[in-house]
Amino acid sequence: MAKGNSEARTGWLLVSPPAVYTVLLLAAPLATVLIYSFLTGGKGEVGAPVTLQNYIDLFTQPVYRAVMWRSLTISLMVTATTVILAYPIAYFVSFHVSPSKKSLWLFLITIPFWTSYIIRVSLWRTILGYNGIVDSLLMGLGITAEPVNILSHGFASIVFTLSHAYAPFAVLPIFVSLEKVDRALLEAGQDLGETRWTTFLRVTLPLTMPGVIAAVLIVFIPTVGDYVTPELIGGGKTPMIANLIEVEMLKKRDQAMGSAIAVAAMLIVGVVSAAFVLANRRYLGGRK
């Protein structure tokens, strides 16, 4: 049909500038990384032979495995923390805030997210660090005699800082799914003999699982690849995948190994996300 073709042509023509941009600056680089990951690198050069050695090293050498394992654990802990803490707040805003004030609450929750990430993370360093704000506060109040230096517990402070940084990310999708819940269903639940709590467990929670799943993915994916927090808060002693990529790419100048880590990271993120979505697919079917 002539008309269908011309519409498709116009659509393609319009989308071509951003599409070409994406192909050149995203698809091509990612393809390069994929190819590099099967080559041999070192001293800033990448070349033959084609090999699986990078991947073998990555999954057998304890250094690499430790970092990848740590990234995954930190990220999963951050995800669990943010989503569990975010649900009640989303619930509060959706169910207990009058409609005219909902936007204001959402706005308040989102503002910190839009203020400089670097400044927020750096501030935690100042707040939690040796003789920092928390230490001086605790010592000043006579609670401790010595600086606690929370920052020295790299793992825990990274989890804390990342959870704080990604908190608003988790609230929004859960809020949206809560807003979509037909309030009559909850009344029906109670009408049919459920308490408010069991209604929540049997009606509200299952209905909002798509939002929870979205929140999980939206927090999990970027935290796996976070660079700034391990660097500033962990003081470089608790590296995550992104820091490892930097070390391989720029310090060791082994772009092949760096590429392999990047590809592995994307695979891990993809597999974990897909597994999570599959495990919860019964909540996602049939709802638009």
Binding site: A8, V15, L25, L26, V33, S122, S136, M249, A265
Partner: protein, 269 residues
Amino acid sequence: MMKAPGLRLYAMLYLLVLYAPILVLPLFAFNDASIVAFPLAGFTTKWFGEMWQDPNLGIALRNSLIIALSTATLATVLGIFAARSSVRYQWPGKPIVMGAIMLPLVLPEMIVAMALLVILLSLGVPLSIFTIIMGHVLICMPFAVAILTSAFQSLDRSFEEAAMDLGETPWSTFRLIVLPLVMPGILSSFLITFTISIDEFIISNFLGSGRPILSVYIFGQFRFPAKVPAMLALGTILVCFSILLLIIAEYFRRRGVARIGGKDTGGFL
């Protein structure tokens, strides 16, 4: 509306923790002590003066502004193309193409940065402010597309048909009807992408070959305890500035919704 005092208290605490670092900022930015710790020593504005002692801040600020303005313009223009095409026209392959454009949203930024770095180095492109802009546009475009898509979606198709019916060509229809009606979305996209670009660290750090960029500069300065108070002063200014931008963006977004006579469905994203 059911009462829930427990939940309300929790919500207050949540907000308090969320805002804790931002509240700490001005507290110590105006504190007359070079060590950031309690007890507070007294009021001063000297840190706001001291931060300008470092000429690099001026350069970093200028570079960041150039980058953010270029990024916001390019990402929004490209976003208009993508959003308009995906909302208004049916074409084969749309899910794949739009998915690719939105991909940076779910890719760890480090991977985007390194992939770009690898290809730039292999092509022999020298790192500069220009390469940072290239990277920033890539990661800002999904945000622009998301905001603009919702702006274009809330535009009733019959407005365009009415204009055509009344004698306008497709292009003059776009100029007279579509553009003015999505203008709030365009402004809000511009402001959001501007803010993201100013804040962005990874790409600015790795694709800029060490040029002073605001976020990179702050990251570096925080490592020196003596510089921290001045950075808190700078941070205070930046936070106030981004909140201002956000309020403006939110204002335009709401005005856009109200103008088209739609229903407000919440904030960004």
